[in-house]
Symmetry: D3
Subunit: 111 residues, 6 copies
């Protein structure tokens, strides 16, 4: 696993989808920017929420995307692992295995 | 919808399950208490994370359970609605309808 | 089950969420209008797609919302039941029970 | 909750769907009868497996349908609660709340 | 990613499962053929429905399988991208990343 | 696909998560050991239940983990394929493709 490379490939794929369905993706962009803006909850914590959801819904690329955003917004390893603990509460065994991948992806992003 | 009554019925149901599978539920209790304890992220924010996951995974009783816990830990209406916005980002249309129910449940819990 | 009443209650709930998170819901509105507009695929068929997804993801309110939109866009009972057959292919037994509810909701919307 | 009545309503709904999409439902019937037939695993244990899946995928009607079949095939309360414990392992908190409903449905079916 | 090769490997895997559980897979075959037959909705549009469901339920192999079938039944790139837009409406962010993969798989199938 | 290697990598990943969130994972360990212990249902059959859930919830690593445990507890190929048939009933087409992967993983574990 090479998190930086995976992230680059993901960005390229998403960019193609953006060009294919620009109106829909513009709406999604507005959702994403408004839903993760600093407010009573910080952008960092909102991105961590998205990571938790990604773990529970079994979406590796989502884990990568939102972990990267959470780290960029200031999330430390402690923030990430506490998020994974919460995901295990809500997702059981499958969240354990996806949480394990999330931790590996997090470490990959530090390199 | 009567949130207080629904919560009471949910507690009664969960209590029966606890008695039926005490060893498993004791393990779950330990997950729940450790995963939502105050840490680098607050208990309040962890319960809000659980609400977001509940909305995205279409679980009304989970919304009720974790909203109640989030409110008890200090979550305001603003915290809740920001959480619902994030859920919409990660869950699309179904999260809109479950988010709408979450807001109604939240209001029911204020009475 | 009273589909017309349920639809009215759903609209009221969604309207409250819209007011609570207007920026996010404005983005969602743009997604919804662009994603279901007539194109190479008709609005009718896109709303039926949404019904199929709603059945497979176990979301009663989504079934109601998109069935109503599909009917308004010209979907007949035949279109609906063919959609439910496809949902059974992709969702197995749970799609059978949610498909059964979808058929009941469809009939409720005809009254 | 009145499990016997709920089961009757479910049968009626499924019967309508069967008439609406007979070819597809005939295929589903063949899956259901072959997949739950006595083999190296008993029909009883296969229906319990279906209950566990129903709990993890948040489908009340599926819980009702397969619990009834499991009981008819000889499942005791002990079999059911062990099944719910396994569901909690694989489904986390949402499986706790749906498992609680399953236990209540089981008790309703005994009346 | 090599869509043609992936499709070949998928066919081989499914063929083994067919031999292992022939009665169940015969039932599934009848569901698949009846549910995707030309009717009031075309086979093409039904396969696109299946693609949308595959994107929302995070199943890469299902995307590959049903995209190939949709293309064979006459789906153009426009049909596919409109389908992905609808999937984004119903699946949010995770559908964006799986939709991006779907577009890549579609392009791979053109080679 | 190399099942033995994949299993080794999975164990390593899970071990890191265990160290990162020991309190939560200790609770999960208690759930796992109590929920899969021999009782009225055997450990073997409970692990097969977990395999069925893993197939329906689209989790490759869970399939690997619980298939390995089921085989260790005495599950034969017949037990596994009957489990996959039940998963197809509850999961439709996506369970066919994940069931196909499960069969391949099972064969990989025999080597």
């Amino acid at each position: 696993m090479d998190a930086a490379n995976d992230a680059k490939a993901l960005d390229a794929r998403m960019s193609k989808l953006f060009k294919a369905i620009p109106e829909t993706m513009k709406g999604f962009g507005q959702i994403a920017s408004s839903a993760t803006a600093d407010g009573k909850l910080s952008k960092r914590d909102k991105e961590l929420m998205a990571v938790a959801i990604a773990v529970v819904t079994h979406c590796d690329d989502c884990i990568l995307y939102h972990l990267r955003a959470a780290v960029k917004a200031g999330a430390s390893r402690d923030h990430v692992v506490e998020t994974l603990a919460l995901a295990v509460e809500m997702g059981g065994g499958p969240a354990v295995v996806y949480g394990s991948r999330a931790l590996e992806i997090y470490e990959g992003l530090q390199k």
